[in-house]
Assembly symmetry: C2
Homo-oligomer: 524 residues x 2
């Protein structure tokens, strides 16, 4: 692979940039945006466990009971065939499938405990499983917003800017879907332009939507072309991932099933995520919602393993609750945090990588957006989430992608990334020599130990303003959200597209042109 | 004690209110402010441990080495006498004290692992130690701020309003000091009016400042009078607490020492909190700052135990870091969070109750204020902090108390209080019957299981706005901070002083008058 990279480096480049990590060094050199370098993160701390071993077992048993007695609807004949052949009980003339618990446990047991997701730039490859954790940008918002432009319907210009922002920010490890729906692109070919933009504007790993067979097949092909690998190698190297939401309660829709089948066949990973909103699509108790979440996740994961044993999956948890008075979905609530941590316990019970999220229900990038997000970030991280969907930019329970929120989240995620660096304890860091030098009543500003650490002693924020009140006021008294606006604008100004091999660019262009000629995903 | 309470209930009341928890019920009845009821909180989850057993031992050993080899300055002759008599090595003609590690370990071992702090209203008594956790209001800010009045120097009117707010909010368990310094009161008698206000405006536990002997003696007497108990009973029942900051590095000031001595003699608790700002008053490494924090805390705690073996103390952690470029203190940073969690590990190592904080360095109640606070709240809670100082209202690294921040924090703390309620897992909550009733593709809005839980299924926020964007916009598009402004105003309007026994009120008035006549704390 080293050779691949070198040879790529020697070919023609678009935009004159030199790969990924160069961004930071270049910025520093010219006094531009300062941020943490790209890092693959792992959580060295024990996860928070909110459910006892007995409680976890009861949730597990209830979910198996649900699948055995009540069953789940699989809205696609091909799925019914596969499930029937595997020994599941399909009610004749219906889409209802009941599962023996042995069938579920055996099938789920075939899923790998971890897998690598390859990016176009190998430096951005990611491992899911164990205590690794990676952050996605916001995904699937219908609207987009920033302070100067207001809230507007999703469009391709903002879409591309959100991709550029995600490429610029090292703390964003991958793209979890379209950050915003580019509604101005024609539906049948939208996925072609949108997925191609991941390859041309970024070099990080990305997601394809399971909205029917054609769209996911196209997305996989674009990922393959982008990496410049053969079809055989694609089978060995997951290069794109998909999120599949069950249509809770207890239903899996046809287009999602088609996506799951294609992805599984080609050994590409799927994050199975039941949308179990407690009080609406799931029981109005956290335990009940978790049991249903678990039933749906296990059934869909078992299905993937029946299609292709060993295909990579993530166990997804998204359980939250509605406001009982209005029916409005709520996120980043105490119930959400506990459910997210319990979701991690369930995923670990099955030895599966875990997908969680960074969520909130605020309508404006304010203190609520921050504290609800923190409630979900802490739960995702301390629940040993491996993939944090919607890591940066999600607002309004997913209805809006906000440019300022991307920056706010990037700051919170950088803080978390630093939090995950263990405290160094050794003779040097214990600093006995410095304490001797300074002594009682002195100060450490000029101590040798301090001067030696001047540059990198502590986390340096991208958004927090630590000036005193007077200096802050004289500088314009900007809120964090107003500063985030300036920062995202600066990042877009400094953006340069990552290097792309000319042959790959040409192949991609030709593929998109051909598929557009064919009408895109009209058939779906 | 039951009898005491009953007899008090039957006497004349000021303001006509009926005790504490009545506030909520009354509010509900007339459609007023909705909040969680008063609750003593405990953290049922295992603490997050950020330092290995070996690392913890190395920090412990280094702190003993510091005290043995470098020593600490105790700036008061009485302290030097006590320490010398106990076997510590006092350098003649100086205030430098060196401690044998055996002396430290033996003395610290005498401190109780938990204690009860009594409030004027027994329903507001608190236990510190184990996995209990209680939240204080903001303390010791020189400035005060709200949206309509702007930022202003502390004064008695705002002081009283912050006390009223703290009384109104059930999630605020006690007062950790003057929420803001009432600078318009004369310095010599300020403490008399300020501490008396805790008794007249609130019925929760409170704090007295260790600023010389006279002030703390007066504060203790006011607490005794407020509870209507004898001096003997005061000795058995801690009724006021104090925070003592070491003057880092490695120094304890005279006025603080006087306070410590008086409090210890009367068996009243002190939270010993080194102010170890890494890079300024402590080494520029977290491990080094923790070792110094631990040395200072252990020395002062040992001193308290030498004054009165068994006197209650809390181990305080406040280690944060400065911005190395400007020297500005930073709070709620990743370093802060890790240090706060490690502080909990140290406190547990010695079997001592742990004091942590809710901190941030923001200049305005915005997203930064929220996320920095959350970084410290999660660390305090998951570090098994028993007392969270500055729980509600702290801004600008402690330079301002904000009315809106009190509400923002109250919301975040309520969320945390709910997060600490374990997920109920039983046949009823697992909701198999509801899943049967609803089945695949249905919804739970009208299910029997949902209707039975309509009122109290989920946490109901005081600040979060979960309406959709259009409804929120039509309602004025208020940010969380603007809503917090309205909420605090409403709470002050609804405020009624808690019942106060007439005899106690009279005794208190007479005491304040007498002490004012005597000149207050002029001698200090």
């Amino acid at each position: 692979m080293e050779q691949d990279r070198d040879s790529r480096r020697n070919r023609r480049r678009r935009g004159g940039a030199d790969g990924d990590a160069g961004t930071l060094e270049r910025s520093r050199a010219r006094g531009g945006f300062q941020q943490l370098p790209w890092r693959n993160l792992a959580n060295p701390y024990s996860p928070i466990e909110v459910v006892s071993a007995d409680g976890l077992e009861a949730i597990h048993q209830t979910s198996l009971e649900i699948l055995e007695e009540i069953g789940m609807d699989f809205l696609h004949p091909e799925a019914l065939e596969i499930l029937k052949a595997a020994g599941a009980e399909v009610t004749p003339g219906s889409e209802r499938v009941r599962f023996d618990r042995g069938l579920i446990e055996t099938a789920v047991g075939k899923a790998p405990s971890d897998f690598k997701l390859h990016a176009r730039n190998p430096k951005h490859d990611l491992t899911f499983g164990g205590n690794n954790i990676a952050f996605c940008e916001v995904a699937s918002a219908p609207n987009v917003s920033d302070i100067s432009g207001g809230r507007r319907v999703g469009n391709f210009k903002d879409y591309c800017d959100l991709l550029r922002l995600g490429q610029q920010l090292n703390i964003i490890h991958l793209f979890g879907g379209y950050p915003v729906e580019p509604v101005d692109l024609p539906p049948a070919t939208r996925h072609l332009d949108a997925v191609a933009a991941f390859v041309t504007l970024t070099d990080k790993a990305f997601h394809g939507y399971s909205l029917g067979r054609q769209r996911i097949v196209d997305a996989i092909e674009i990922a393959r072309i982008g990496r410049g690998i053969s079809h055989d190698r694609l089978l060995r190297e997951p290069s794109i991932f998909t999120v599949v939401n069950t249509s809770s309660p207890l239903r899996l829709d046809g287009p999602m099933i088609e996506g799951l089948i294609e992805m599984a066949k080609l050994n590409q990973p799927a994050a199975i995520t039941p949308f179990t909103l407690s009080g609406a699509m799931a029981p109005a108790t956290i335990a009940g919602a978790l049991a249903q979440q678990n039933a749906e996740a296990l059934a869909a994961i078992a299905f993937v393993q029946l299609v292709n044993p060993g295909a990579p999956v993530l166990y997804g948890g998204f359980t939250s609750n509605v406001d009982m008075k209005s029916g409005a979905p709520a996120f980043g609530t105490p119930e959400y945090s506990r459910a997210a941590l319990a979701g991690g316990q369930l995923a670990r019970r099955y030895g599966l990588p875990y997908r969680s999220s960074n969520v909130n229900a605020a309508n404006v990038v304010d203190a609520q957006a921050a504290y609800e997000s923190q409630m979900s970030i802490w739960a995702a991280v301390m629940g040993h989430g491996n993939m944090m969907m919607h890591g940066a930019g999600w607002m309004e329970g997913g209805l809006t992608a906000s440019f300022e929120k991307v920056i706010l989240d990037a700051e919170m995620l950088q803080g978390m990334a630093e939090f995950l660096q263990p405290i160094e304890v050794n003779a040097d860091s214990l600093a006995m020599e410095a304490v001797r030098e300074v002594g009682p009543g002195g100060h450490y500003f000029g101590a040798q130990h301090t001067l030696a650490r001047y540059e990198n002693a502590f986390y340096s924020p991208i958004l927090s303003d630590w000036r005193n009140f007077q200096s802050w006021e004289e500088a314009g008294a900007l809120t964090a959200t107003e500063r985030a606006h300036q920062i995202y604008k600066q990042l877009l100004t400094e953006y340069e597209p990552p290097a792309l091999d000319a042959a790959i660019a040409d192949e991609l262009e030709a593929f998109i042109a051909k598929r557009k000629e064919e009408g895109g995903a009209k058939a779906d």
